[in-house]
């Protein structure tokens, strides 16, 4: 997954995590600034820009509350990433959209009919992700962007691996239409 292989952990990062866990807000701000771009990108891709800011804040507040539970068994970035995914999934469930997002929506196949601008392909690609139906989008981000396996996604989302595979294929076929526009 994207963050587990993150070698960009700065020198002193572990010290900052330890200080933050001990209640040092300044150290926690450094931790926040190191990771906020990746966490915000995750929330933006999974939930959309509208909710990304609020949920990113929720994630870091939750991180602050749970830092004492981080034992260093894995990289901090991996631990944080999993916590972030859990918060995002929790948010989706709390708004009771889990049921709808797993239903098929044939109309969604008509999305992205206009060729996007070529100036910033990454942004265009993210816009296309944002137009995926929620269920397919969540699994596409978790699998193809973040690197989770179907069995992991199935556990996280309380679905079967088969559903995860079908939604992923559906998402890729929709994203393929976006590539057609380039």
């Amino acid at each position: 997954m994207a963050l587990s292989g993150d070698t960009a952990v700065r020198s002193g990062m572990n010290e900052d995590v330890a200080l933050a866990a001990a209640g040092d807000a300044s150290a926690f701000e450094r931790v926040y600034r190191t990771h906020v771009a990746k966490i915000h990108s995750l929330t933006r891709r999974m939930l959309g820009s509208h909710e990304a800011d609020e949920v990113t804040q929720d994630i870091f507040v939750r991180t602050w509350q749970k830092l004492g539970q981080f034992r260093g068994d894995s990289a901090f970035s991996t631990w944080l990433h999993r916590l972030a995914v859990n918060v995002v999934i929790e948010r989706r469930r709390s708004f009771a959209i889990q049921r709808e997002r797993m239903t098929d929506d044939p109309a969604a196949l008509d999305f992205v009919t206009v060729a996007p601008a070529r100036a910033d392909l990454t942004v265009d690609f993210e816009q296309a992700i944002g137009q995926l139906p929620p269920g397919a989008r969540e699994i596409f981000v978790l699998h193809d962007v973040e690197g989770y396996k179907h069995r992991e996604i199935a556990v996280m989302l309380h679905i079967t691996s088969g559903t995860s595979k079908r939604q992923l294929h559906r998402a890729r076929m929709l994203m393929r239409k976006h590539l057609d526009g380039l």
Binding site: F60, Q65, R93, F125, K165
Partner: protein, 239 residues
């Protein structure tokens, strides 16, 4: 391009190495014969490559969210948040109301005569609302008054809070038929109690808009309302 969905439906599993050997061989045999399906396969490869590239292209938020995070963690003195059941929330809500009532009684009369509270009456609601919305705001900024008191200001986010509450209340209304009467009674009683607590905190803040303790209390109370609504709505979504 002709779509052979019986084959294209297998292409993601093929790319992810999720097919059994025999099925994989069958797909490969078809791909050797079918240019259209091979083109789809190439497209899917491009999609995956773009997704993997996106993983390394993280973009920070457009606004600095740290102020909002800092405001919230400053309100949190306990290291861990305990996950509450609806029944536990009932007790918590009663406590919130009691504390709010006590603070409203304690603070409001004693600070009404402060010079800096007089000119702020008209702006109190906006200030309070902004402070309350800080956790969800994307444009939080830190304002420091001449007397050194820090205020967290947020624009527009109060509308987002109100909209979220309205959505959840509507969802709860639609799903209340799935809840038993006792649960509905507990939820409604607690919402009423929390609303009273919010009103009392607002009243206290009207007299002392710079009181960060009251602001934090109001933030937490409104957050509790949102949490309760979310939990109650989630209950209606259970089969």
């Amino acid at each position: 391009m002709k779509m052979h969905t019986e084959w294209t439906d297998k292409l993601s599993d093929y790319l992810d190495d999720e097919l059994e050997a025999a099925e994989r061989a069958a797909v490969e045999a078809h791909l050797r014969e079918c240019a259209d399906c091979s083109a789809v396969l190439d497209d899917l490869r491009r999609v995956i490559a773009r997704a993997q590239a996106a993983a390394t292209a993280a973009r920070p938020p457009q606004t600095d969210l740290w102020t909002g995070v800092a405001g919230r963690i400053n309100c949190i003195r306990q290291p861990r948040r305990v996950s509450l059941t609806v029944a536990q929330l009932a007790a918590a809500a009663v406590l919130v109301a009691a504390v709010s009532a006590g603070m409203a009684w304690q603070f409001a009369p004693s600070i009404a005569g402060r010079p800096d509270s007089e000119s702020s009456a008209a702006n109190t609601d906006r200030t309070v609302a902004s402070s309350v919305a800080a956790p969800s705001g994307s444009s939080a900024d830190l304002q420091v008054r001449p007397d050194g008191v820090s205020l967290i200001g947020v624009s527009l986010a109060d509308d987002q809070y109100d909209a979220a509450v309205a959505d959840l209340e509507q969802a709860l209304k639609q799903g209340r038929g799935k809840l038993d009467k006792a649960t509905i009674a507990v939820v409604e009683q607690n919402l009423q109690t929390i609303d009273q607590a919010i009103a009392q905190a607002r009243e206290a803040l009207a007299s002392d808009p710079a009181n960060s303790y009251l602001s934090g209390h109001l933030v937490e109370t409104r957050r509790r309302k949102l949490d309760l609504l979310r939990r109650a709505t989630a209950l209606t979504d259970m089969d």
